[in-house]
């Protein structure tokens, strides 16, 4: 009996990465605690987030059990589907809040740009893996084109935040694949030179966000309001914070989007610098685990894809906390594993599931 159950359990958990899951659970617990406070002790929000977590953990479990090799097979179709959908958005998409981001397919609306967050690094990792024996400049140029096409489509929607995140994911793959420093520096220089041109291409609200970042007081009741209020929340939290459920900025409604994009302001106000440091450490632990897994990954594909997932996770956390603390412009990026919302929870867990898969399928490949 006992050995059989043990064997069965081992089979079930064979593809779960213990350390990663542990840190994830701690972060999710923190998330629930803060959502409870941010929603003014709303049990319904907490329980619906628990449901989101359940779904996300299931997705994670499923992807942890799928071999990375299987993913290489869907890379190209998924990418092509994503691009097709983006083209459809550009042609038939619904306009919400002045941006054409959504596509209505029969029963529900989808946002194809979300798919590209996974599809682009997957595609690029697959591409490099496929041509790894003889990588030439041409391959890099093709990879860059593979990246530019969806990013361009997303920029046109316009959705600058998502476009930047997709480019980041793609860029990580390119960087890890060994893109020459000369080209990296060259592109960086060219990018800087293009800034005025990009500025003239930007929409007014996009420019406004950047201007607001430089000086939030310029528009204290308009676009600067969120940044000012979340900065006040952070600063007034101090070293120890105001205590759970005690944040005045939070509970008197000064912080917008308290359970989603600005949840970090709530956390930071109530738990202070000590809480923030703990959160940074927890995120670093996940990233470190991702780096370790990636460094030991068996194939170029898993290395590139795993690296991209790890660095994308970092990007989400960094951009969100940077935005809330007022050093980055306000873009709609949730705080991974903490913010309320099913989509982001599932996406993040899916990525971490793939990391687990890379880690746990390694032995199988080697053996």
């Amino acid at each position: 009996m006992t050995p059989r159950i043990r064997r069965f359990t081992r089979l079930l958990t064979a593809h779960i990465d213990g350390p990663l899951l542990m840190v994830m659970m701690v972060l999710m617990g923190i998330g629930l605690t803060v959502i409870y406070s941010g929603s003014n002790q709303g049990i319904s929000r907490v329980s619906s987030q628990m449901l989101n977590m359940l779904v996300a953990l299931t997705v994670m479990y499923v992807f942890a059990n799928i071999s990375p090799h299987a993913l290489t097979r869907i890379a190209l179709p998924l990418y092509l589907l994503g691009v097709l959908l983006l083209v459809c958005v550009a042609l038939f998409g619904e306009v919400v809040n002045g941006a054409r981001r959504w596509l209505f397919i029969g029963v529900t609306r989808i946002q194809p740009s979300e798919i590209m967050k996974i599809a682009v690094p997957l595609m690029l990792a697959w591409y490099f893996d496929r041509y790894q024996s003889a990588l030439k400049l041409k391959n890099y140029i093709i990879a860059v084109l593979l990246l530019i096409v969806p990013v361009g489509l997303v920029v046109r929607q316009p959705d600058l935040g998502t476009a930047l995140l997709i480019s980041a994911a793609g860029a990580y793959v390119l960087f890890l694949a060994g893109l020459s420093w000369r080209i990296i520096l060259g592109v960086a220089a060219a990018g800087a030179a293009c800034m005025p041109f990009v500025w003239s291409m930007m929409h007014d609200y996009q420019r406004q966000r950047i201007l607001t970042l430089i000086d939030p007081t310029q528009d204290p009741l308009g676009s600067g309001y969120h940044t000012i209020q979340s900065t006040i929340a952070l600063g007034s939290g101090g070293v120890f914070g105001k205590g759970w459920l005690q944040g005045s900025q939070t509970h008197l409604d000064f912080i917008p989007e308290r359970t989603t994009d600005f949840i970090f302001a709530v956390f930071s106000e109530e738990f202070g610098l000590i809480g923030n440091s703990l959160l940074l450490v927890l995120f670093l632990l996940i990233i470190a685990r991702g780096v370790v897994i990636t460094a030991n990954a068996p194939t170029l594909f898993t290395r590139l894809f795993g690296g991209a997932i790890t660095l994308t996770f970092f990007t989400y956390a960094f951009v969100n906390m940077g935005m809330v603390s007022g050093i980055l412009p306000v873009v709609g990026v949730p705080l991974p594993l903490i913010s309320y919302g099913g989509t982001s929870m599932v996406t993040v867990c899916l990525g971490l599931g793939i990391l687990m898969s890379i880690q746990t399928h390694k032995k199988l490949v080697q053996s």
Binding site: F175, S180, L234, G235
Partner: protein, 635 residues
């Protein structure tokens, strides 16, 4: 790329070199991650440690709203406790223009629930022009219980329209005290700036009204009180969540006046249809017993903003009800000047009391004939007679003998031509003519001929009724002059502590008792056997007085003033100064009746009624304007 092209073409996957290169890149990325997180930590440290107190202040400012609690304004009562200015609480309907898109449409809508008269609309328009759009302005005041209920039920239909309980100022005596008590009104920008300059702006947070004229203005600092403060926690929408602390306001102080509302009413009635002014003071303290300027106006009109139509009527009325005649109107004193002239003559040794002059009906000076009021003159006149019958010729000559500088130096001591310093603002200074004054005013030298008519209180002479009252009070009090004050004491509403406005002796004029006796005796003679005798016939007390007539229009050389020929508004003003009882004066007064002709006929009887009421408690009988009495004694 260079790294990868050196891959020597081995078909071996995962070559060590390749992995080495990858790990190098990964290490670089990890370092970048650490750097970025350090950057975040630095930012957190900066916000939460370095700038912590700054952001705490901001968060508190966000959270806490300071709500002023307006103190109750002090009330004003007369010497017997009769209410002159009080407060009452009532509901008002207020619109915040900034929150409303189409004002007229909203007002029309509100009018279906609560009655809104055209007057209310006009008044609202006027307020709107004077205010800022974020202030809430009353469209209707004093809602009835039924209206309150009806609006409350329909409130949801009117965003930006609120019903508020407010304290209102009320002046129960209406017109009677309009010029003394004054009134409050909405604070305007100029007053706001003034409050700011004086450092009182904080105490006026939440206060909409301020004293505009009269005691309401001059005692503003006492009446207003100290504004209380409530600290309220608010959410981002500014809605109050809970009260954190509260400092109660301190009510303003009450004013208890020397005035007697009953006496004031007696005087008002005694004036009948005439316009004019009367100031009565207690000669021994300077306490003002009566202060009338007629006509007045209803001060209640101003409390919640006067509507343009009433404003126009008040401003354009030929009777000029807005002018405080007692305080700011200046008039020639006429013959009421004569007792002081006589006193000056004695003091400067220019006349002896028994010294007689011959009045042949006038005085010739420099080719000009100064006519006596009595055709043919009064014959031989000594000082006593000169006052009792009011002989002009005696004073033409005296003025000439004294000279303008002696006259002005002497009269200045009695307060002629200078502000009395009464505790109401807006006092006029009047004109005490002198060589120096004329040089300053007209850049001309004084002509000796101009001195002559000064002697009978005409010419450049122009004084306020208040100055006339103060002068006669000083005379009655044997030269000891007090600063007139309307307020008896200021009462602290909390501690009931009284701050008495102490009588302030301004100066004691150096006068010889025997000189005073002569003049005062002659003034008693006026009321006994002279120009005031008819008015004072049968009085059970001994009083002293002097009639006067002030020319409104100059009479041509050699022409006699015939009242019936002169248009009503151009008729002479009647004047009377008096005090009683003569041996121990308790009340001194000056009364001016506009366009009423001889002082003896209208002004003296009014003074009689004041004395009768004040000394005996008798009720008055009113006068009728324009009533002819052919048997007038000459003034």
């Amino acid at each position: 790329m260079a790294e990868l092209t050196i891959n020597p073409g081995f078909e071996l996957r995962n070559s060590r070199l390749e992995i080495h290169h990858f790990r190098l890149r990964l290490a670089i990325a990890s370092t970048a991650v650490l750097c970025m997180f350090s950057l975040l930590f630095a930012r957190f440290f900066y916000l939460q440690v370095v700038q912590h107190s700054y952001y705490t202040t901001l968060a508190e400012a966000n959270r806490i709203s300071i709500v002023p609690i307006v103190p109750n304004r002090g009330i004003i009562v007369d010497r017997n406790g009769v209410l002159l200015a009080s407060n009452y609480s009532a509901y008002t309907l207020e619109i915040t223009p900034g929150k409303v898109e189409d004002l007229d449409a909203v007002i029309d809508d509100v009018a279906t629930v609560v009655e809104i008269t055209p007057r209310d609309r006009r008044r609202f328009k006027k307020l709107l022009e004077e205010s800022k759009s974020f202030e809430s302005l009353p469209i209707r005041t004093r809602l009835s219980d039924e209206e309150i209920a009806r609006f409350a039920a329909n409130r949801y239909r009117f965003p930006g329209v609120d019903m508020n309980a407010r304290l209102f100022r009320q002046y129960p005596q209406g017109e009677l005290f309009s010029h003394v008590v004054g009134h409050i009104g909405r604070i305007n920008q100029r007053e706001l700036d003034q409050l700011d300059d004086d450092g009182f702006a904080a105490n006026y947070r939440g206060t909409d009204y301020i004293g505009k004229v009269g005691l309401e203005q001059s005692y503003e600092a006492s009446l207003h009180g100290t504004t209380g403060v409530e600290q309220v926690e608010v959410d981002s929408g500014g809605r109050p969540v809970r009260t954190l602390s509260r400092t109660m306001p301190v009510s303003g102080n009450n004013l208890v006046l020397n005035l007697d509302a009953k006496l004031q009413e007696v005087i008002y009635e005694a004036f009948g249809d005439y316009r004019g002014a009367l100031v009565a003071v207690d000669p021994k303290t300077g306490g003002v017993l009566a202060f009338v300027s007629k006509p007045g106006f209803d001060p209640n009109l101003f409390v919640d903003g006067i509507d343009p139509q009433n404003w126009k009527e008040l401003n354009e009325s030929i009777d000029r009800p807005m002018v405080n005649r007692a305080l700011a109107g200046t008039y020639p004193p006429g013959s009421t000047f004569k007792p002081y002239m006589a006193l000056a003559a004695l003091t400067y040794g220019k006349r002896r009391p028994e010294q007689r002059i011959s009045d042949g009906g006038g005085f010739n000076f420099g080719g000009r004939f100064f006519r006596d009021d009595k055709v043919g003159g009064h014959g031989l006149v000594d000082m006593y007679k000169s006052i009792v019958v009011s002989c002009d010729t005696y004073y033409y000559m005296l003025a000439n003998d004294l000279g303008i500088d002696n006259i002005s130096n002497f009269m200045r001591q009695f307060g002629f031509g200078s502000r009395t310093g009464i505790d109401v603002t807006g006092e006029a200074g009047g004109i005490l003519p002198s060589q120096e004054w004329k040089q300053r005013r007209y850049k001309q030298k004084w002509y000796a001929g101009e001195t002559i008519s000064i002697g009978i209180g005409q010419g450049y002479n122009a004084y306020t009724p208040l100055q006339l009252a103060q002068a006669v009070a000083t005379l009655a009090n044997d030269g000891v002059m007090f600063r007139p004050h309307i307020v008896n004491y200021v009462e602290d509403t909390v501690t009931r502590k009284r701050t008495v406005v102490e009588p302030q002796p301004l100066r004691t004029i150096d006068l010889k008792p025997e000189h005073l006796k002569v003049v005062k005796n002659a003034m008693v003679g006026v009321n006994k056997e002279g120009t005031g005798a008819r008015a004072y016939a049968g009085a059970p007390y001994v009083s002293a007085g002097k009639t006067g007539t002030a020319q409104v229009v100059a009479i041509k050389q050699g022409e006699k003033y015939v009242e019936s020929r002169v248009q009503e508004r151009n008729r002479d003003h009647a004047l009377f100064i008096a005090y009683a009882p003569a041996d121990d004066p308790k009340i001194a007064l000056a009364v001016l009746v506009e366009n009423a002709g001889f002082g003896a006929r209208t002004a003296a009887p009014i003074s009689r009624q004041v004395f009768d009421y004040y000394l005996l408690g008798k009720k008055p009988t009113p006068l009728k304007a324009g009533k002819e009495n052919p048997n007038d004694p000459a003034d």
